[in-house]
Assembly symmetry: C2
């Protein structure tokens, strides 16, 4: 019997690829999506469709309303930056940073994993083309893993049983799309946009869209999403 | 102006004392209670009353339904052990352990703290008379703090700005009650019971009640709570 892994699935291209990596690595994937009150609700729909397309054993959508703890352009009425182009995106930490988001998500994944009797967790963070978020760096993932080994019954009994897999962490966005393509990921059912149109189309100009479009271009691939400007 | 601290407030005696410590240390306390679907709902009522009694600046009750990730006697229909007496309580990890609970709670506290512009977090964990939970030990708290410094914008900018205060961690239960008493904590509005009666009375026989009663006795104090057996 194959081992279970909990995979954080946001509905974006990176987490869809991380899910495909977990399957390639031989794990039975259990997908976890957090409805944190994100303004870009289309993500949640894409997470459901992606989970179904990749035939996860279970898809759990858990609500944690981070609007209550606020202060991010992704949850509050703070304008999302746009039109900067991938090369102009500042390497400072942007207003789309959600305080402690990956820590909260990984913590819930850890709890669910332990309940399921596994210590394997997948997260699609990426340190190279990331938007300047501190919780996407390898040193952060390592520190989380170390903490998780001390936090849990499973980790106390067997330290090496807890493993946070971040298969995309050292890949460029172009490499991620190439890898996803090889693993059969359907990128038409992913959403990366911070500021989608009311009918759920990606804007094509926010930081996340800019990084995505540059990534597809660098990979020599065509983004299957429709953008308003390309209509 | 005094600095804000986020204090995790469960409604139990330890977190009520941790809140009093934050106030004594000169912080403006913001209390955070997680409604995680605990069977002992009286805790949430006590948290509200305790927050009001200690005049916190804000009391945020956030819902994170840990029943969805299950497997604990505190959230599921697993029997809570009782009648063992404080000295007989096994030092193994008991069925009342909730996977990754403190990690999830501290993560949300971290996110709220950063939004509020502070890195000070208080948690009432206690390693000496604890029930065998891995996430109540000093090495766990240190690992969380180290991870938090790498996870956040605030921590990246100034490592020492993030501090997880665990003022009770090396105290016995008796010492905690003495300290709380000195700081004016009203223990009649705390609830520690894992298995309260339908009208919210503490059972007096679960591990948590046993530890509490022994603590009051060791401190030479009388528990102001009414127990069914003492009616």
């Amino acid at each position: 019997m194959n081992k279970i892994a909990v995979v954080l699935l946001s509905g974006g291209a990176d987490s869809a690829t991380a899910l495909a990596c977990a399957r390639k690595d031989g794990f039975v994937p259990y997908a976890l999506t957090i409805d944190y009150g994100q303004r870009h609700r289309v993500e949640l729909e894409m997470a459901k469709r992606q989970a179904a397309a990749q035939k996860v054993s279970k898809h759990l959508v858990m609500s944690i309303d981070l609007r209550a703890i606020g202060r991010s352009a992704l949850t509050d009425e703070i304008p999302v930056p746009s039109g900067r182009g991938a090369d102009e995106i500042s390497h400072g930490i942007p207003v789309t940073y959600v305080p402690a988001r990956n820590t909260i998500f990984l913590s819930v994944a850890l709890g669910w994993a332990e309940s399921l009797g596994t210590g394997d967790i997948y997260i699609g963070v990426n340190a190279l083309d990331y938007s300047g978020y501190p919780d996407c760096r390898p040193e952060y993932i390592e520190a989380f893993e170390r903490m998780a080994r001390l936090a849990t019954k499973m980790g106390v009994e067997n330290e090496s049983s807890i493993k946070v897999h971040a298969p995309l962490i050292n890949l460029t966005k172009g490499e991620i799309f190439k890898l996803g393509k090889e693993l059969g990921v359907d990128f038409s059912i992913t959403s990366s946009c911070y500021n989608p149109t009311p009918d759920g189309l990606a804007c094509g100009v926010c930081d996340s869209c800019s990084i995505r479009l540059k990534g597809f271009s660098n990979a020599g691939l065509v983004d299957p999403l429709k953008y308003p400007a390309s209509k």
